[in-house]
Subunit: 217 residues, 2 copies
DNA sequence: CGGTGGGCCGGGAAATCTTCCCGATCTTGC
DNA sequence: GCAAGATCGGGAAGATTTCCCGGCCCACCG
């Protein structure tokens, strides 16, 4: 049923910036066996687009407003376990990379990579392999060696997402609404995050998050 | 000497992400009177590229690693006061926008804008006009209405010092001790600072302070 | 299987922090 | 002297934080 059976690789682009999507297209259309069949601009519409087009590979930025990109990945993989998702992100911090793979991503390429790195990575994941850019591999490799786990190591995915939104300046109410949980739960997580990381104030959390690239600032 | 005299608008692209630069190119090359003559990938090389090509318009992302994009703007305008610089950013916070214009930018367009918005903005700044995307205008307009004209200038010395320590991660208790005042006073200041600046959470205060260079981070 | 551990979700209650009110002092400038 | 404004803090109501608890689901293991 997918377009991949006979010839090219069909691709769904997910990014909230139109111009960046244009950039994907420009790079990808130089490859005759690539076919960009759809685009989506947020996590929620990503699954709809996936269902409608059943692309061979989803190329996705995970730092999008609102719902987490990680959740979108899980969402897609839940209903389509054979989906191949390639994360294309500004950040290469180990926490994020590991979270992405754990959520079901097949590859991870940073936006600072040369365009051809993205192209090669797409081919790899389309073949069912894992792929990542050099810088990501470097980060992961170092991470796997050091027994000194980063502060984030001990944070669950939910905790990381809440920390990210907190650091971005969202109020508890907004976070609760974004994640469809109660404010009480947000408060409990916030408190838990502080004890786990050893931070005492919200301000320290912001700085911690910024240090690890969780927020742009 | 520049290429603009007779026909098209020559453009220098500055962004640290190759793929994003491809996106610029793709959009801009649809315009027959545009001519993307150079690219740069960081703030420091931006001036060199400007000097070498003397483009009519510089399209620049200001959130780049290392040196501040704002500094690059100032750098260019210092030696070439007639340079036209259009900021193209992910963020539209009033502080950033104002800082950009203050540094010498001629326009400000967010990356979430439709591509044609960027195109029109480039034409505007090439004509010597100011230009910005709707969302940026919205933010600035609201800002100009609020009694907090400059958000920051209206803070007293004591308020700024407390904001600085807060943003640095100090607890109320530490601040009170440092300044030899009661915690209650610190709390009152903190509250006052929020209302004056329009920030709602501590996290937003940290980001505000960081954007103004109040804290290193 | 059933048990165990972990992540996720929230209630309860006391402690703490925030907000918005108020008055006090002190300096500055007219 | 007097007004303005910066600094300092109390009081009280409301919101947040902390720490405790139990329930749910899922993955792993004996």
């Amino acid at each position: 049923m997918t377009a991949s059976q006979t010839k090219g690789i069909s691709i769904l682009l997910v990014d909230d910036h139109p111009v960046v999507r244009q950039g994907y297209r420009r790079v990808l259309e130089t490859q005759s066996d690539f076919d960009v069949t759809a685009e989506a601009e947020d996590a929620t519409s990503a699954y709809a687009a996936f269902k409608a087009h059943l692309p061979d590979v989803v190329v996705m930025d995970i730092s999008m407003p609102g719902a987490s990109g990680l959740e979108a990945i899980r969402n897609i993989r839940l209903r389509a376990p054979r989906a191949r998702i390639l994360v294309f992100s500004m950040h290469s911090e180990a926490v994020l990379v590991k979270a992405a793979f754990k959520s079901g991503a097949s590859g991870y390429v940073t936006k600072s990579s040369e365009p051809m790195v993205l192209v090669q990575a797409i081919r790899s994941v389309a073949r069912g392999e894992r792929a990542m850019s050099d810088d990501v591999a470097h980060v992961l490799a170092l991470e796997s060696l050091s027994p000194s786990a980063s502060v984030f190591e001990q944070l669950g995915e939910r905790e990381i997402e809440i920390l990210r939104q907190l650091a971005a300046g969202s109020t508890q109410e907004q976070i609760a609404s974004n994640l469809n949980i109660s404010m009480k739960t947000v408060q409990n997580y916030q408190s838990l995050i502080k004890t786990k990381t050893g931070m005492r104030t919200d301000a320290q959390l912001v700085r911690l998050a910024a240090e690890y690239g969780l927020t742009s600032l």
